[in-house]
Amino acid sequence: MSTPEIVFDNVSKFYGEVLGVNRVDLHIPPGITSLVGPNGSGKTTLMNLMTGLVHPNAGVIQVRGISPFAPEKLMKILGYATQYDAGPRGATGFDFINSGLLLHGFSTAEAEKRTWQAIERVGLTAAAKRKVAGYSKGMRQRIRLAQSIAHDPLVLILDEPLNGLDPLVRAETIALFREYAAGGRHVVLSSHVLQEVDVFSDQVILIANGMIVAEGQIKSVREEIHEHPSQYLLHCKEASRVASLLFAETHISEIRLAPEGQGLLVLTRNREAFATALERIALSGIDIDGVIPTDENVDALYEYLIGGGR
């Protein structure tokens, strides 16, 4: 039985003298995993490595127990929607998917049936017989997604899959990822639009300059970084009084007034101590209307990790 994980064991990839990724160790479990990093950070290289489009200079990669050097086995269980726009010259949307399915060994009738199903799933039925070259960016994104899911793979890899999609299609696409991941499959996607992935990802892998800087659930990644001060927005009427009480706490490193009089922006190095302090303040009779962590999204975490902290 194959290992249901995607494993990178000390993998490095260089393009000549340019670093792609360096000494990557990863164990990606099933579910939705987002690779997050700025342009050129190595997200696409990681995806290309796990699909065999590029080969590592060092290290070993296994996708559910299959080496990317065995495309005849790997591509049976893997679908990859690449960032590359082009398909076979002159192909229609239908041809693009159907020809791929024929290579999977499906009969003509079965391939046609699956093609229409995949096209319908991404809402491109009306444009199926038009040439891919004439598609808009969003349509190309969708036809690539359709091609990657047409053979019902166990591992779905998607390079910036939400780029160029309108809000409605975006919501439908995210629902599709969730549905896929719910069945114990892998959905690995990349994005640099950070807010959109922390909403639906089970795991996040933060990558910068070809190195993994953090991995795991967004919350647990956040908790791993003990030294990182957490920022909270305190909604309260007596802001200056609360501020003076909090300044007495040693774990508080910064307190600012929130814009538009929303309350206070508090930076703490110890969440538990902060929670205890707030409890104490509330018990002293000062009203605190709400406590909102403002940096638990990927943006803040990412900024902290990549930008060297505050």
Binding site: Y15, N48, T51, G52, L53, V54, H55, F69, P71, E72, K73, L74, M75, K76, Y80, T82, Y84, D85, A86, G87, P88, R89, G90, F96, S99, G100, L102, L103, H104, G105
Partner: protein, 360 residues
């Protein structure tokens, strides 16, 4: 799905693109060029027969009686009015040497007896030379065809045609940024390579094998029907077969070489020049090295050897003269072995190939 059926599926998917690729449309021009030349030759001959025959045509026996020394008037009286008749008088010059015995008047008459064009030259009224040439000479045309086939069709037509077709199978997809489509299919790279090679081979063999057959027919058919019939009943079919086979095997050999080049090198001009030079200097090399040439085996398959003109410069003669031919079965086996080795190297390159469009 077996690898063989995958190869066939890939080949079928590629065929349309190979046959109708805008990038290699000029390949058809190369393949059809000899046909156009021989058709042109036939049409030109037919027009001349029409123009020179009829009232102005003369009897062959009468023409043969015109001998050196006869006067122009005698010839006119014997044979009749020529198709063309031109007279040129020598201009007197001040510095003319009285001892110089250049003729004062030259007259040129051209006759046509239905098959031969006969040119008669008279100097000062006397017949001094007689040149007869059959307008459609089957033997000559077959030799011309053999020369065209070996020096143009094999060395240049099929060579550059295969360059255009096979180098685009991988390199073209890299430029179009569409190669990843194939790499994401559940097929071994070796199978993918063979599928694409098969597509290129079918297209090249149809285009150039068809071109060879068309030009062969364009060369044979306009000749006298009796000659043609005799030719088909004796050696015609065999010759046609070997020309088509040599063209197809040329596609097999050059196709594999250029497919491998497309995988190993970015610039197709470099392998083209290297291989062209290699094929050209092959005649200078020792026997063992000559066996590493596609052209060597192809020339060994050609049914009609091409005699080189004696006045040709020695260097050119060495470049054009084929090496001692190899037996047919060795030629075919040698070519297939060479192709197998090249394809094996191409498979290794395909396994290592990465998608890195930015570097293209």
């Amino acid at each position: 799905m077996t690898p063989l059926s995958q190869i066939w599926v890939i080949a079928k998917m590629e065929l349309g693109r190979v046959f109708f690729s805008r990038r290699s449309f000029w390949v058809y021009l190369l393949a059809l060029f000899p046909t156009v030349i021989f058709l042109g030759h036939a049409i030109d001959a037919q027009l001349k027969v029409k123009r020179w025959g009829g009232e102005r045509g003369v009897k062959a026996e009468l023409l043969d009686q015109a001998q050196s020394g006869m006067t122009d008037e005698q010839v006119l009286a014997l044979v009749g009015k020529p198709v063309t008749d031109q007279t040129r008088k020598r201009r007197a010059r001040r510095d003319d040497d009285p001892a110089d015995k250049q003729p004062e008047v030259r007259r040129y008459m051209m006759y046509f007896d239905g098959k031969r064009r006969v040119d008669l030259r008279f100097e000062d009224g006397k017949l001094v030379s007689r040149n007869a040439r059959v307008l459609m000479n089957f033997e000559d045309d077959r030799r011309v065809y053999a020369g065209m086939f070996q020096y143009f069709y094999l060395r240049l037509g099929i060579f550059f045609g295969c360059l255009g077709i096979f180098i685009n199978l991988f390199r073209g997809e890299m430029l179009d940024r569409s190669l990843h489509f194939w790499f994401l299919a559940p097929v071994k790279r070796e199978v993918l390579l063979l599928g694409k090679y098969l597509a290129g081979l079918i297209a090249a063999a149809v285009i150039f094998g068809g071109g060879a057959m068309l030009s062969f027919l364009a060369m044979v058919l306009p000749h006298d029907s009796v000659e043609v019939q005799t030719f088909w009943q004796t050696i015609g079919t065999e010759h046609a077969f070997w020309y088509a086979a040599a063209a197809a095997l040329g596609c097999v050999g050059y196709g594999s070489v250029f497919l491998a080049s497309g995988l190993l090198l970015r610039n197709p001009i470099i392998p083209a020049i290297v291989i062209l030079v290699w094929e050209s200097i092959n005649g200078f090399l020792p026997d063992v090295m000559q066996k590493l040439s596609v052209l060597h085996y192809l020339q060994s398959l050609c049914p009609v050897p091409v005699p080189l003109p004696t006045e040709m410069p020695a260097v050119l003669k060495m470049l054009l003269a084929p090496a001692a031919p190899t037996a047919v079965w060795i030629s075919v086996a040698g070519l297939l072995t060479l192709t197998g080795l090249v394809l094996f190297a191409a498979m290794q390159a395909a396994r290592r190939l990465e998608i890195n469009y930015g570097a293209e």
